[in-house]
Symmetry: C2
Subunit: 204 residues, 2 copies
């Protein structure tokens, strides 16, 4: 794309680095911003910068937070003995949206993936183990592994389970099965198989 | 959406003001930026701000430009007697991409649209007329109206034509017809009608 201005070109190239945004969309965004009020554009520019300069992570669960300890970890209403281990911040939001979980979280920041060069020390695994060993902020009785069912997720689950067993906590994982509303006919074999193996008492 | 941080929330709300970007995409962008290097995010933040603070418009054609007079208006290779009137910067790029037009441009910055409160004085119409009256930067022989074929575009064409006729310039407009590669069967009646009315000599 041949743009009439280096400044426009630079903005387009920067915006095109956002996930799923191509040059054409980036140009649309840039031309839109050009027409906005200066204050509006200044606000956006600052809001983006603040993501790096102002945003903190909770010292316990490593979820994003404006405070040193996040609202979930500091809430009196949560069951502090249960810690749900998730890959990223989106997963915390997804589980919170269900309104079914009242324990705490631990955000790993990824999963073990040798192919991407992500090892144990790139993730918040040491801090998870320390949390259980020291009982800070609260003694942990159960760790719920809620990592993705990919090879990397399974590897991480396996590694964590081996590290957690000696610490005397109960290790559980999410139930996998046929999604609510899905028909059996179109469910993949592995999922359907697990649904049958881990069948639960009928609640009439 | 309930976000764990006001700073994240603010960034998501700002990004969601981009055209065609919803809260979900905005969150994806924000979480992506959170993981980027600080310098990278700083560069993007600045590039966005520069769209407002650094970007100029050519004093003649009002296209975006890093210089007072844009490369097209200052080029020695262009036919300066022909001015193509377009709605916006994207239209200049679209015509330039055809590599078929060697004249200059005039970017109106919109079209007359009473329903959106856009009148003659919100557009670069006075500067177009002045350009023709004064012959600055060059005497104009022909004005090509290349505005969209909407009610607003037609209104603007009509208004411009009435203003331009007394100035003694030739006023032309884009040929409308069946697009190259389109079948007649699926072409709308108005377009096909115009294609027949304005048929041209066959070049064998």
């Amino acid at each position: 794309m041949d743009l009439p201005s280096k400044i426009l070109q630079e903005a387009v190239e920067q915006l095109a680095t956002l996930p799923g945004v191509g040059k054409r969309s980036a140009l649309r965004y840039a031309l839109h911003l050009m027409k906005e009020d200066e204050q509006k554009v200044r606000d956006m520019s600052e809001a983006i910068l603040h993501l790096k300069t102002e945003l903190h992570h909770c010292r316990y669960c490593h979820n994003v937070s404006d405070t040193e300890v996040c609202p979930i970890c500091s809430s009196e209403k949560r069951q502090k003995g249960i810690v749900c281990v998730v890959e990223n911040v989106q997963d915390v939001m997804a589980i919170e949206n269900t309104q079914q979980y009242r324990g705490l979280y631990h955000v790993l920041g990824g999963v073990i993936s040798p192919i991407d060069g992500i090892g144990v020390h790139d993730l918040e695994i040491a801090s998870l183990l320390r949390r259980i060993e020291t009982g800070d902020p609260a003694p942990v009785e159960e760790v719920v592994l809620a990592l993705p069912t990919t090879m990397e997720g399974d590897t991480t689950n396996f590694y964590l389970n081996r590290q957690l067993q000696p610490l005397g906590v109960r290790v559980t994982t999410l139930a996998r099965g046929v999604a609510v509303g899905d028909s059996l006919e179109y469910t993949d074999e592995i999922t359907l198989g697990r649904s049958i193996l881990h069948r639960i008492p009928f609640e009439g």
